[in-house]
Symmetry: C2
Subunit: 374 residues, 2 copies
Amino acid sequence: MADAVLIYAASSHDSNLLYKTRFQAGDPIVYIEAGGKNLLVLNDLELGRGKAEARVDEIVSMSAVEKELKDAGQAKPTLADIVARVLELRGADRVTVPASFPLEMADMLRGKGVSLTYRREPFYPERTVKTEEELKHIREAVKFTEEAYARAHKAFVETEIRGNELWYQGSPLTAERVKRIIDGYLYENDLLATHTIVAGGEQGTDPHCRGFGPLHPNETIVIDVFPKSLKTGYVADMTRTWVKGKATAEAKRIDAAVKAACETAFRTIRAGVESTDVHKAVQKTLEDAGFKTETRDGKPVGFFHGTGHGIGLDVHESPPMGKRGALLKEGMVVTVEPGLYYPGVGAVRIEDDVVVTKDGCVNLCSYHKNLEIP
Amino acid sequence: MADAVLIYAASSHDSNLLYKTRFQAGDPIVYIEAGGKNLLVLNDLELGRGKAEARVDEIVSMSAVEKELKDAGQAKPTLADIVARVLELRGADRVTVPASFPLEMADMLRGKGVSLTYRREPFYPERTVKTEEELKHIREAVKFTEEAYARAHKAFVETEIRGNELWYQGSPLTAERVKRIIDGYLYENDLLATHTIVAGGEQGTDPHCRGFGPLHPNETIVIDVFPKSLKTGYVADMTRTWVKGKATAEAKRIDAAVKAACETAFRTIRAGVESTDVHKAVQKTLEDAGFKTETRDGKPVGFFHGTGHGIGLDVHESPPMGKRGALLKEGMVVTVEPGLYYPGVGAVRIEDDVVVTKDGCVNLCSYHKNLEIP
């Protein structure tokens, strides 16, 4: 008997399944790899679409297997019976599943004598290296994200400073309105942005604050957008930091240091380099510019997150590029997102997406990084 | 020792967890019920938001438990160690989890001696009966859905019939454009509609076809919309069928029969009634009107799906109202969605959402059901 891979999930929520099948399914479906081939087990309603769209070697009809089991005397075959039978027909009795595999199916299969073990992420390490087709999808997501930034930027340009308030089209400009401009434009173009960050002033100094309420002039506003294409499943992940009006001298120094840190990463990233070394170089650039990372009043300040992470079908995927790292390979796509956070002063984070090449990297993002918006 | 309930999931994708905590989390969190109380185990980043927003008896600091385990000599406590410790402190060693519980966590807990069994849906049967607050959320989702229909209807009214084509604002009216009008309006109002159906002509006769391409005059167009509020998590689920131009005599007969079937359901639904009896009454109304349900050319025709299903945090939840049924209770919210599908003739499905009351039901939907759009 031989080994197999089994996934039982909805590809709308399971990137590994979508990666291997390119088949969009909102309800759980059965995917099996065995004997060097892969297959989907689909019900009658999905059979036709599966045959037309899924990039697998074979589509197995669930009802055909069910009928076979009934003919053999099983009154009411369960889905686990059907899965076990397909595995048996492929000569597989040792099965590897994702760590998130649903317990009910696991217990039922084990009850039938199937040996089931889970494998942690990255379940498919090859997902880290992108094909030309995948790069095309990521580039497309980046393009729309940059256009969304341009829409938001235009709104800031048209915004009026009234004392400590920002007014746009007759009412105060809020984080929520900026998110609506960005997310709305993306949705019109079939990308779904969830949890977009528009964090002004003190809010921005907590990288986990999504931002809310009125925005103010002359303070840093961190805008982090990471939409997923509803068509392809691929994401972009970008951050820009803006000041409407005049940035303080300190904010300008922070901004310059973060931009220098970006350049350090762009210079350091290359196939064959350990990503954690990129992170160390970025940390050094920020320290050398005089920006300390430490704890003040019980809160972390400075640069206290990773330099980046892989993107693809997920916003966060391998390789990591921080304290934990991995060997960078040609064709990986990673974010470069250094940031500095100082309560009382402000926060700047700038994030681009780059493809790792043999000699360095190619930046997929070309949208400007100007801090101030007059 | 005693029993406990354990959920480990992201509430953004797990309605049971959202139901019990009302805490929106995009990453997996740990939820435990033991000794008549419930709690969330949260990391430091989520602690503050959890204390402010989650409707649970207690928030447990993950890092505090981790520290305790480290102080007791465990070098690198895993999340499973932390969960096992919290269960131990609550005196619970028999744990019930959802059928979808992730295998890795299950195997690790079992390895530590925790007895773990899964329970199938409905995991919380009490979810079927809605509170006033839940009804308010569903009513709100219905309101925006009806407004979205009104937007689409206006577009059809402004559409011009040119031979066998429909022209709207200078170009052919397609299923995709109608979906964009509906989904876009809903998104602007913080509701996410996925897989909206706009299925014209023959497409509509397959209830699983989402619809695509140019729409045509004088044929039935089935429009099924089931958005989820991004704020509250609650859904609406409505269907209308329209004909731009003149409906055929046969389409009008089908439409009249489906409307009569809706009325049958509204008259039959009441607390204490078996929902499968509602379905049988609806089937009888359609049969009595002369519409047979049978197989023609290998395809099902007539009325071959259920009369409805519960809605709430999920688009499909208990109780079912078809071949499978359940006892209807006061406060349940179910769809009423009879339909007739005849290839070569057309399809009509009409769907409202109703609340079950002691004496009958209250229709949450008031949007008109006119078939023809001149």
